[in-house]
Amino acid sequence: MTSSFARHGIDHLSASSLNLWAAQPALWITERLLGRRTPIGIPAARGRSVEHGVHAGLINPSKTPAECVAEAEREFNRETAFTGDPRRDEERGKIAGYVQGALAELRKYGIPDAYQKRIEIKLDDLSVPIIGYIDWAFSVYGLIIDLKTTERFPSEISNSHGRQGAVYASAFGNFGMRFAYAKPAPGKTDKQQVKVYEMSGDDVRRHIGALRAVALSLGRFLAVSNDARELAGLIVPDFDSFWWSDPSARAAGREVFGF
């Protein structure tokens, strides 16, 4: 029997896809089922660009922070070339701080031996695998590190990040999973610019359990109909949510949901 995922042409899932389904099902349908992908947002472009610059510095210890910043800024310009988001200039100005701060912290781990490595795990009762791409692995320490850019430190690893990290950690066996949260500048009081949090084994198991539950719910939803438009008719979007703040996302939502 064909699975509901296969009937919709879905041959894999990811933590980010399942996080989107959990947070904003209407946007998941718009993007993942109806193919109305919205352009990369400024925060996501910032994250990718900073990661690009930091990676340049990690794999080449002789590269100066200024050179890494320049690479990150070039990447940011490229990623956001077609965006009309007014936050673009403001965010570009912060990239240097993010890169310098993250690089100073992550260079202490040495040179990573894996970057953007594709990983895949299978969960019980789920017909499609969950895939992901790790930021960096430091096999000498048995650690995977994922970089997150942020305006303020979270008090803990969020559920969405935790699910992502749980996939990485599960794929890498007994590796530890750490998230490095980098701010554009040191805090005024604590002077910290980067905080690194590590997931426990219990965290990983808990998030994998949640991920499986989310994926199974998605599978059940997709089983309702083979018609993506009909499925869209079962969901009501919350256009006040920040998920829809991009004008092109809003326009796609209007077209799909009719208001």
């Binding site: 781990y109 008090s155 803990e156 690893i157 935790g162 009081t189 690194v196 949090y197 965290d203």
Partner: protein, 214 residues
């Protein structure tokens, strides 16, 4: 008697709402409570903490703070009620930044609802990184088995820049935050909440010929 809400040894300035009488109070500079009108104030929702609170006559309040908003600490025992603690600011009504908290179910429900509104609005353009200002517009009489109590009505007025008087920090003492111990508790502990330092540098690999085999 002054209410020692904030720390274990010092009395922090505070504001409080008496749900039994629908009255607002602020700690007076000379000590004791001073009644104030329904206030409009900035509230640091980003750092609000929840937990278990017990207020006993003639004793300093006891509290066990949840590790995070989505993880509830176990109840310490009889007399403890769910409540919250948050920093609020109004020069006009409170004389500056003060701690605001309580364990009245009606107050907590009112705060929960306006917090949900804050969560909806906080991510919108123009609101990011800013702090909400709310106003108490009235109160609703709630009749239950304990008689009539009042639930304050709050409205989220706007978002504004964080003033220097309200640092972006937790309002509670870390010593009051519940920490899981033992196997069962650690299964539900929050994800890492403390910075993890990089591992110590590994020494260069030794010549295998010099290693002890057993």
């Amino acid at each position: 008697m002054a209410l020692n809400i904030g720390g274990s040894s010092t009395i922090r300035p505070y504001a409080k709402y008496n749900a039994k009488a629908d009255k607002w109070f602020v700690r007076a500079p000379e000590g004791g409570d001073k009644e104030i009108p329904r206030p409009t104030f900035l509230i640091d929702f980003r750092n609000i903490r929840t937990g278990w609170f017990r207020f006993l006559e003639g004793q300093a309040p006891e509290r066990r703070i949840d590790p995070s908003l989505d993880q509830t600490a176990p109840s310490p025992g009889d007399g403890f009620k769910r409540g919250f603690s948050v920093m609020v600011f109004s020069q006009k009504f409170f004389g500056g930044a003060v701690e605001f908290g309580g364990a009245s179910i009606h107050l907590a429900n009112a705060i929960r609802d306006v917090y949900a509104k804050f969560e909806e609005e906080a991510g919108k353009d123009g609101n990011r990184g800013k702090v909400p200002v709310i106003t108490c517009t009235g109160a609703e009489a709630m009749k239950d088995k304990y008689g009539t109590n009042y639930r304050p009505k709050f409205e989220l007025v706007k978002f504004t820049d964080r003033p220097p008087e309200v640092p972006d920090a937790s309002p509670v003492d870390e010593a009051d935050v519940w920490k899981a111990t033992g196997t069962v508790a650690s299964a539900s502990r929050p994800s890492g909440a403390t910075h993890v330092a990089p591992p110590a540098a590994k020494p260069a690999a030794a010549d295998p010929a010099h290693e002890t085999e057993f």
